[in-house]
């Protein structure tokens, strides 16, 4: 697809500010505009109605660090080198924020960054040192040999999923509200594994009733800090602000005062969670073998779910409660976004602001009897909310884009909004603003990568999604010999329940999709050396 399409309907190519809103681990179907019914999301829904809503946006990875690195670099994990959580993005990796900074944009990232590992007792990473140092940023090497503010950001304030550790939010809570610290769920256990301790009414893992007042919760802290930074910007200056909410990622410990918004007892089970164990297991048995092995507690392939938790033990009411708490967190995010937008509007600044809303990856949230995330490439993890509300001053046309798009396109799109074409190192193309823009080109395909190697268990997979198919190929690993795969026909099987990988009638489709993965593998982009795994997360 041609670059520069966003500018085709832009009244002005410069002077547009960018508010980039991300959440963490949020599924497509948790947003009202996407058909979600559990959480009320009027603010996000309005952005969707006024702008472009993408019905199939895919991450480059279904875990945080590789996916977030792709947003910043516009590159796939196999290019930027962050192949799994715990691998740091090189300090001089390419960054769209550096490019925008060069264009004169003031740049900020407020909330969850996670380009560098959290578990860092040696204090080796900048993200973990800024709050202690009390500075907004540090000078660091930039891509191409120059030096500048850390990864291109003038202002950095960090938060993650709790109140432990060295980041700004945790420090603020410890200093200002120490009495509320105990309400938060301990994300990690004594062995620094993801905690499996159950809580709430049903004992679901990573659930806790948290008596923190909503105004002290990280969702509102991120919005408050964003508002303060935006208010500090001069009237005539351009800015790029990445507002990054840590929720609705587990733990599910929203302020207890808000739980009445969604009563778990009223929550219907997810459509992809058959209540009968036999049915769930029959669905899992159609997939590659590690699905059932994890469900049964025979293998733990990655760090991102509690190592001691066995998915087969999860009850229907636990699924209901997790979904209810997730919806509460999504509603709080929606309201926080509403506060930020209202502030901009009140000050007459919203006209020139492009707003993007998306998430880094999804959450299984009960699908197939599973929770959390891992090497399980189905819609729960792969299909993301993505909304682009272009600046009203650019006279945008509202649209629904059904062609598959990827988070790898964000960097090119931000630069396009800023009036600049993407540099050579950007792999993603500018997001289309309508289906018509892509109708004449070959049907677009998007790719998600997974490579993990943790304590003797190696898993490698690549997934390509088109309008018609979701196709996954497994590489050689601890549980796969390289011959396995999954093929789902999204037209007949939108829930990805029937694996057609070995169906002779689909051989031609499978071969074509395999060819697309081969093309992805052989793309000419110069690759960074795969980084070292230096922490679990």
């Amino acid at each position: 697809m041609a670059r520069g399409l966003a500018r085709a309907w832009a009244r002005v190519a410069v002077g547009r500010k960018i508010l980039f809103i991300t959440t963490d681990q949020q599924r497509y179907d948790t947003v009202g505009a996407n058909g979600g019914t559990l959480a009320r999301t009027p603010v996000i829904d309005r952005l969707a109605a006024e702008g472009i809503r993408y019905t199939r946006c895919q991450p480059t990875s279904v875990v945080c660090m590789p996916s977030r690195a792709s947003m910043l670099t516009g590159q796939y994990p196999s290019t930027h080198g962050v192949w799994m959580n715990g691998v740091a993005l090189p300090i001089d990796a390419p960054s769209v924020a550096e490019e925008l900074h060069d264009l004169g944009y003031a740049t900020a990232l407020i909330g969850k960054a996670h380009f560098e590992p959290f578990l860092d007792p040696f204090g080796r990473f900048v993200e973990n040192s800024l709050a202690t140092l009390g500075v907004a940023t540090l000078e660091q090497p930039w891509f191409g040999g120059r030096r500048g503010v850390h990864r291109g950001f003038d202002h950095l304030e960090f938060a993650t999923h709790g109140v432990l550790g060295p980041l700004h939010y945790a420090r603020w809570m410890r200093e200002r509200h120490p009495e509320a610290l105990g309400g938060f769920y301990a994300v990690l256990d004594g062995d620094l594994n993801v905690n499996d301790e159950g809580g709430g009414d049903n004992g679901a893992p990573q659930v806790k009733f948290n008596d923190v007042p909503p105004e002290w919760y990280h969702t509102n802290w991120v919005a408050d800090r964003t508002i303060e930074w935006l208010e500090s910007q001069p009237d005539d200056g351009d800015w790029f602000c990445w507002m990054s909410f840590p929720d609705p990622h587990h733990p599910w410990d929203p302020p207890a005062s808000e739980l009445g918004r969604v009563n778990w007892r009223d929550v219907e089970l997810p459509i992809n969670y058959p209540e009968a164990a036999q049915q769930r297991e029959s669905l899992l048995d159609q997939k590659a073998r590690h699905w059932r092995a994890w469900y049964d507690g025979r293998v733990v392939s990655n760090y991102e779910a509690p190592a001691k938790w066995v998915p087969a033990t999860m009850t229907a009411n636990q699924v209901r409660e997790v979904n209810a708490l997730n919806a509460v967190e999504v509603e709080l995010i929606d309201e926080a976004i509403g506060r930020v937008l209202a502030n901009l509007s009140r000050r007459g600044r919203l006209e020139d602001v492009d707003v993007f809303f998306t998430s880094d990856h999804g959450e299984l949230q009960g699908d197939f009897g599973l929770l959390f995330k891992g090497p399980y490439h189905v819609d729960g993890l792969l299909r993301l909310p993505m909304i682009w509300r272009p600046a009203p001053s650019s006279a945008p046309r509202a649209a629904v884009v059904t062609t598959p798009v990827s988070l790898v396109s964000l960097a090119a799109t931000f630069l396009d909004v800023a009036g600049r074409s993407a540099p050579e190192w950007v792999e993603g193309e500018v997001l289309p603003s309508s289906d018509e823009q892509v109708a004449c080109s070959r049907d677009r395909a998007t790719v998600t990568e997974w490579d993990s190697s943790l304590f003797g268990v190696d898993v490698h997979l690549r997934t390509v999604v088109t309008r018609e198919y979701l196709y996954t190929q497994y590489g050689n690993g601890t549980m796969h010999d390289g011959s396995e795969g999954e093929l789902y026909d999204l037209r007949d099987d939108p829930l990805q329940r029937v694996n057609l990988f070995n169906d002779p009638a689909r051989r031609a489709a499978r071969d074509e999709l395999a060819q697309r993965l081969l093309e992805h593998q052989d793309r000419p982009s110069p690759r960074a050396r795969p980084g070292d795994l230096v922490a679990p997360v």
């Binding site: 715990g86 040696f122 204090g123 040192s129 202690t132 293998v299 760090y303 070292d532």
Partner: protein, 144 residues
């Protein structure tokens, strides 16, 4: 498919263009760790006991197990309560005129092994940098 080991045992190594004795001289003194292990701000050594203070302020008590000049092997263990077990070894091996420096970490819980071993990568880089810089300086002086 179940893990076939008791605990995580990880290893990193660097080929260093310097004589093994020169590399060994960098790591052999317990108190020298602040010079080559990134993130170790200070340390106190009292007999076989060494206490590191990390850049984050965390204190890590250790026991020195072996400083073997013949084998060029340094062995130690972290004795902090968070560790059920830890063994760290640094071996400097001869590879022709050069050296192979091997830093091994065996620990339980697994996650702590990964974090410590991850940090040893930076330590190896610094050991290599120092040894090769020293070699370059020595050569320069030799030419003088």
């Amino acid at each position: 498919m179940i893990k076939e080991y008791v605990m995580a045992s990880l290893r990193h190594e660097r080929l260093i263009e310097a004589a093994p004795q020169d590399v060994w001289n960098i790591v052999r003194r317990p108190q020298s760790i602040t010079d080559w292990f990134p993130g170790v701000a200070s340390c106190r050594v009292d007999g076989r006991r060494r206490v590191l203070t990390l850049a984050t302020g965390l204190e890590v008590p250790e026991e020195i197990l072996s400083v073997d000049e013949g084998l060029r092997r340094f062995a130690y263990r972290i004795v902090a309560p968070a560790y059920k077990f830890h063994l760290g070894t640094i071996d400097v091996l001869s590879v022709g005129a050069h050296s192979l420096c091997v830093y091994s970490t065996t620990a339980e819980p697994d996650t702590l092994a990964l974090i410590i071993a991850g940090a040893t990568i930076g330590a190896l880089e610094e050991i290599k940098r120092q040894a090769e810089s020293w070699r370059a300086v020595s050569r320069e002086r030799g030419q003088e």
